[in-house]
């Protein structure tokens, strides 16, 4: 992958991480408050992000034949299976227990929330266990 593409991904990731920190999603307490019906802020975060991304995914491929630094716009179709539901159910239990998901782990560590290193390391181990599980 070309350096320019990696740099673009790095910049986009940084915007994403800045947004996560600004919206306080890097504090597990805020996510837990949402899940416990005490603060609906997370809906605004998800809604705002989906609104912008929805427009981008719909409009950009209509306006351009290919991305500025790439060959094609990836469709990334998701397939539906039992794993979608079982995996999401497990993910939700973990999210409701810890109050963090993968994005806020990285953004939070960058913003000095060192305790999230625990969750990040655990997510790595969980992904490894998944690889072992499907290879059994």
């Amino acid at each position: 992958m070309r350096t320019a593409q990696l740099l673009a991904v790095l910049i986009g990731g940084a915007l994403f991480g800045f947004g996560l920190a600004w919206s306080t999603m890097i504090q597990p307490e805020v996510v837990l408050d949402f899940l416990q019906f005490e603060d609906s802020g997370l809906l605004l975060v998800l809604g705002g992000a989906v609104l912008v991304t929805l427009c981008a995914y719909l409009l950009i491929p209509k306006l351009m034949n290919k991305p500025l630094l790439g060959k094609e716009f990836h469709k990334h179709p998701n397939t539906f299976s039992k794993n979608t539901i079982v995996g999401s159910a497990l993910f939700g239990v973990g999210w409701g227990l810890a109050g963090v998901c993968p994005g806020p782990v990285f953004a939070g560590i960058g913003a000095g929330n060192w305790m999230l290193l625990i969750s990040g390391a655990a997510m790595f181990l969980g992904a490894y266990a998944h690889g072992r599980y499907v290879s059994r």
């Binding site: 593409q5 673009a8 991904v9 790095l10 986009g12 940084a14 915007l15 994403f16 800045f18 947004g19 996560l20 306080t24 597990p28 307490e29 416990q36 603060d39 802020g41 605004l44 975060v45 705002g48 992000a49 609104l51 950009i60 094609e72 990836h74 990334h76 397939t79 539906f80 979608t84 539901i85 999401s88 497990l90 993910f91 939700g92 239990v93 973990g94 999210w95 409701g96 227990l97 810890a98 963090v100 998901c101 993968p102 953004a107 939070g108 560590i109 000095g112 929330n113 305790m115 390391a121 997510m123 790595f124 969980g126 992904a127 490894y128 998944h130 690889g131 072992r132 599980y133 499907v134």
Partner: protein, 157 residues
């Protein structure tokens, strides 16, 4: 009339959300890539593990940009700390065992489901994919039940 649902205000949530969308859109505009976060964990194992699952083509091909994306997320958090964050590091009082057990379950589950809150939530919903909508409804439901159950059990926080 909405204030009661947002005791900590609304603007920073909305601004953060729009910026998150801008980040995902920027990556799509420049590279055409759909940037979920959780696949990073599996693709990163391809650097260390010889297990054939982790050596699959899609991980070997995407591990570089996924690493750049994860670094970018941390860099963005750091940039916030230096600017709007006034140098005040974020912190949490959530107990270590919750962060550990929850992280492991979230890591396993997200990989099994093929996406997390960013892949299914932001990217999947934005590309109007029904499997992602099913995933979001499922993990929101179990997360709400879990958080309430832990709260009812008297664990604070």
């Amino acid at each position: 009339m909405f204030e009661q649902f947002f005791p900590n205000g609304m603007l920073h949530y909305l601004a953060g959300g729009l910026l998150i969308g801008a980040g995902v859109s920027f990556i799509f505009l420049m590279t055409g890539l759909v940037s979920g976060t959780s696949t990073f964990f599996s693709s990163a194992w391809s650097y260390f593990s010889t297990l054939p699952f982790f050596r699959q083509k899609s991980f070997l091909e995407s591990r570089q940009w996924r690493l750049a994306f994860a670094l970018g997320l941390a860099l963005g958090g750091f940039a916030f700390l230096l600017t709007l964050g006034n140098g005040q590091a974020a912190s949490t009082g959530v107990q270590w065992w919750r962060l550990l057990a929850g992280g492991a379950l979230a890591g396993f589950g997200a990989r099994m489901a093929g996406g997390c809150t960013s892949g299914h939530g932001i990217c999947g919903l934005s590309s109007l994919q029904l499997p992602s909508l099913a995933a979001v409804i499922t993990f929101l439901t179990t997360a709400i039940i879990t958080a309430h159950a832990v709260q009812l059990a008297g664990v604070l926080p």
